[in-house]
């Protein structure tokens, strides 16, 4: 009995360290393939069900993202002007916006193929770029890169770069403009409004 329990504990321990130590490129590839596999078999997502795809992203993708870092990156120097409470609100609203818009992008997935570029890192690296490419017939391949940082809970994505366009820093000028117009609270309000109007228009 004790032996069995011990074996079970050991197995659990091994499994959890294996996950924590999963290399960043392996992590990106595993999560991408899992998500695409699900979408390929889910007619509702293919028909554009926002709720369904957000659910999937929530479960499979979000645990590997660091939204606080993403928000700080999008804010640039304005981030330090926000109080801890404002930072929390900003992170929550920005997360909602990013998740909704880019989850929806997944519903237009058809027959693209993701190619994983060769990846090299030193064992001491704590900040890496994992490069992939999306191939689709008749079009140029689209570069899709992920910036990851090593945290206690494993590697976390803090930036996604499509064709050289950072989906995070692309907000910096817009955020700066909102802060100039209405302060940090004005920015929080305008992202929240955007989220509300998106939710009102969404396809169930």
């Amino acid at each position: 009995m004790m032996k069995k329990l011990f074996a079970l504990l050991l197995a659990g321990f091994l499994a959890s360290t294996a996950v924590a130590q999963e290399a960043p490129d392996v992590l990106v590839q595993r999560v991408t393939e899992e998500v695409l596999e699900i979408i390929r078999h889910d007619k509702e997502i293919q028909n554009g069900s926002t709720n369904k795809v957000i659910d999937l992203v929530d479960k499979k993708v979000l645990p590997h993202f660091n939204f606080q870092h993403m928000t700080a990156l999008a804010m640039g120097k304005e981030w330090r002007k926000a109080s801890p409470q404002q930072q929390q609100q900003l992170t929550a609203e920005f997360k909602t916006l990013l998740v909704r818009t880019y989850s929806n992008a997944l519903t237009s997935y058809k027959n693209q193929k993701v190619v994983y570029k060769a990846f090299k890192m030193a064992p001491t690296d704590t900040d890496v770029l994992v490069r992939t490419e999306v191939h689709q017939p008749g079009n140029k391949p689209v570069q899709l890169d992920y910036s990851l940082e090593k945290l206690d809970g494993g590697w976390k994505v803090y930036d996604v770069v499509v064709a050289g366009i950072s989906l995070v820093t692309n907000y910096r000028d817009q955020f700066g403009q909102e802060v100039r117009n209405g302060g940090i609270d004005g920015l929080i309000a305008s992202i929240a409004n955007k989220n509300k109007s998106l939710e009102a228009n969404q396809k169930k």
């Binding site: 008749g138 050289g164 692309n170 000028d173 817009q174 955020f175 100039r180 305008s190």
Partner: protein, 241 residues
């Protein structure tokens, strides 16, 4: 009589000019604060509005019909065909940037796809591992050291910096479609190419529409980031935050 009219007219004119200058200085100041890459923001935003109207009522509906009506293999063939048409010019620009190995690949792609790939309808070269490059004359000028100049937004052609607007003009001269003798064929090819490009952007529309707080700024900053990425062939040096 005439004199006094002229004088008052001049005074009025001067007052207007002064007011205009002050307003411009004011605009200049706020814009300089907002984005140093967008000194012509006022002009650009009005062009953007024109562009959006043209897109909404002409370009986008046509692209949607094309996208829905044409089967995927045909769309892929069209995309490959225009890719192949532009291949020689890509090769010229690779060479002008001193990337002779790339230029060789571009030429190889042109030869393979024009023959085995049946007039470029099939991208056999990619399957053989000859990677497609993304070059144009604006990038060539950037590699030569030309600055980007201010950001501009043009109706129909969209985002271009001053440098890339010039580059686009030179690209037109390097476009084989422009040398097709038959005017109907030439115009059909140009039309089809626009529809093909617009259709390929349809999935991005929804994302931009949903993601942007300010669509104009979102598109501008995406364009500037993407160009930087193209100039550095997909590996731009990291910017400090």
């Amino acid at each position: 009589m005439t004199k006094s009219l002229g004088l008052s007219g001049m005074r009025k004119g001067r007052a207007w000019a002064l007011g205009g200058l002050l307003a411009l200085a004011g605009i200049g100041n706020t814009i300089a604060e907002e984005n140093p890459h967008d000194p012509y923001e006022g002009f650009n935003r009005s062009m953007f509005a024109v562009h959006e109207a043209i897109d909404k009522y002409a370009a986008k509906p046509v692209a949607q019909v094309y996208d829905n009506a044409v089967p995927l293999p045909v769309k892929a063939g069209v995309g490959n065909f225009f890719g192949n048409v532009g291949e020689l010019w890509v090769g010229v620009n690779s060479a002008l940037q001193g990337k002779f190995a790339d230029a060789g690949v571009d030429l190889g792609r042109l030869l393979i796809n024009s023959t085995v790939g049946i007039f470029g309808l099939f991208d056999v070269a990619s399957e053989l591992g000859l990677e497609r490059h993304d070059e144009d004359f604006g990038q060539t000028m950037a590699v030569w050291g030309a600055g980007s100049g201010g950001y501009l937004f043009w109706p129909v052609i969209g985002s271009r910096t001053v440098r890339d607007t010039l580059g686009w003009g030179v690209d037109l001269m390097g476009d084989p479609v422009g040398y097709v003798d038959s005017i109907p064929v030439r115009n059909s090819l140009r039309g089809l190419r626009i529809v093909d490009i617009r259709a390929s952007l349809l999935p991005a529309d929804k994302v931009v529409e949903e993601a942007a707080l300010d669509k104009y700024a979102y598109i501008r900053d995406a364009y500037l980031q993407r160009r930087r990425n193209q100039i550095f062939d997909g590996r731009p040096p990291r910017l400090d935050d």
